[in-house]
Symmetry: D2
Subunit: 186 residues, 4 copies
């Protein structure tokens, strides 16, 4: 049997009560044994400035190392202003540099977008996918995951209470486990 | 004669030698008298976290006030990973909140993307425009500005040395002045 | 009082029972007196082939003339495969040629996307907007219109039965009338 | 040794002197023995209309069968109005229906965009990729192919005369052969 794969889960929102974080936790809890997903925090990454590469801030170095160590990357993100939240895009930018040393390269990826609105973060979802083309992250196509009306899916403690969403999440993580296993660099 | 319009120019890259900054300076220098454009810095804006709205950081407050005061907004941006740099998206997110109090609303806008590559930041340009739909920033459509091969357009001091680009910039700022005048809220 | 504006309404789906067509009819019925919107059919436009410009098919000529005559253009579209239906994109391409003689130029535009799914045709909506940048169609930003779960909004005869959607449509057409009046070339 | 893979090559432009067609022919000529690519014509596909599914036009049936038979799909496309040409999008729509019977599903795909402009069809390239997410076509991320200034790369007979582009095409087809072999359903 294959060794469990280390999945770096990136949450695209910083606030404590974030629905993206709730969704990420649920997805982690529902992952099959083939995956060992873990949230990698992005709060301490200062805004990317190429001039800082001469002496990179410690959080940049740690983040890059953590992503490099991962077998795969799973993005669970809010939508801000019809696109990827700046906080998540900044983490992607930090992880992609310095030039020629991107930490993301070849990590099998997947995208889940989460929003209280009906459109389920569609804008963030596909803008993120465009970046993953450049980063050479082979990205799972189906099932797509646009989690809308997110405020009605969790209870006060952030526990998923919607049965259809739980089933969807399980199916998604199952499919993702297959995608990861097929794309992990050997 | 109309009063000159105050244009907040946002540069989507932090490094000192940024081609976006060089382009922004050139555009400012070539603006017609009807516009008084000025770079508004975004370096000090910490990553957006909704929980911080209870006591917003001073740079957020100052930035929002500066944008609110502006008659118009001009984005001059690099492309990072085929999309809007995180640092610029974060500024947009900060300026758009708290909910219902966006500083961007109804400011006539325009987008210039700048890149050393051939595709001239197309990905950043149009992802940014998608956010401007949500922010209700009426955005000038033509002339589009994808400034490619940017490292060959400026000298060491950041002065624009390309005559065709200068002409393009002049034409662009002229058109933008018309767009601003037609869309400034009265 | 201003003369009513002639609005060409383009429906992005050909089937008889199309929800986009139902939405278009409702929007037309709810338009304020300042607008006289009319569906312009696109079914007879053969696939765009530049070689045919030497002797353009009659439907191309008629379509281009009809769009040129219009004061404004309103797109009401389905989403096919997360983007603009080929049938609508073909009409846009036909109307945009021959080079330098686009029929769309400077017509004030707006976009409504309609879908039985939850995401309301978000993908079609914004892909279409990207084309409108190139076509120099000044496009209304707000209110955005992503009409999801469309199969529950109309009765068998295609009459709008949802009160909140009717209100939304009314508000939208009111805003669009203002946008048209402000942007009609004079 | 593996059997050569049958690749359906779809060209996103109908005119005889199309640069996309020239590029497609060059890519085919430079393919490694592991691939046997062939252009599949889309000219005869009438505009998609769901009502026609009761008695689908012969070209629709033939096209769907041809795509189903293929091991993989390669899109070589022009950009019309900053997006996918209607003629190509229509072929994608035809191949994707009727619901639940898409011919595209699971075919390993890749995208090449071609344009006389500098931006190399970036808009068409990424809009097409968004559709491929929905169609569950696993799409090669790198190398990206934005072929700009295309009118300077071929001679009168459509033969590729640019050595750097030939090298790029060779590398691309080599990488695509690997992508196809890794993703062909077994």
């Amino acid at each position: 049997m294959a060794q469990p794969r280390d999945v770096a889960v990136i949450v695209g929102s910083l606030r404590k009560g974030s629905f993206s974080r709730m969704a990420a936790r649920s997805l982690i809890a529902l992952a099959p044994p083939a995956l060992t997903p873990e949230i990698v925090e992005i709060r301490d990454l200062s805004l990317y400035d190429q001039d800082a590469e001469e002496a990179p801030p410690a959080p940049w170095i740690l983040f890059r190392e953590r992503i490099r160590r991962a077998d795969a990357v799973l993005f669970v993100t809010a939508e801000y202003n019809r696109s990827v939240p700046g906080v998540l895009k900044n983490a992607i930018d930090v992880g992609s540099r310095p030039y020629g040393k991107s930490a993301w390269e070849h990590k099998p990826g997947a995208v889940v977008s989460v929003s209280p609105g009906a459109t389920g973060g569609f804008g963030a979802n596909h803008h993120l996918r465009q970046s993953l083309v450049f980063l050479d992250v082979p990205c799972m196509q189906q099932p797509e995951m646009y989690i809308g009306v997110a405020h009605k899916l969790f209870d006060k403690d952030g526990t998923l209470t919607s049965d259809p969403t739980r089933e969807l999440f399980q199916k998604f993580m199952q499919a993702y486990a297959g995608w990861v296993e097929a794309h992990v660099p050997r």
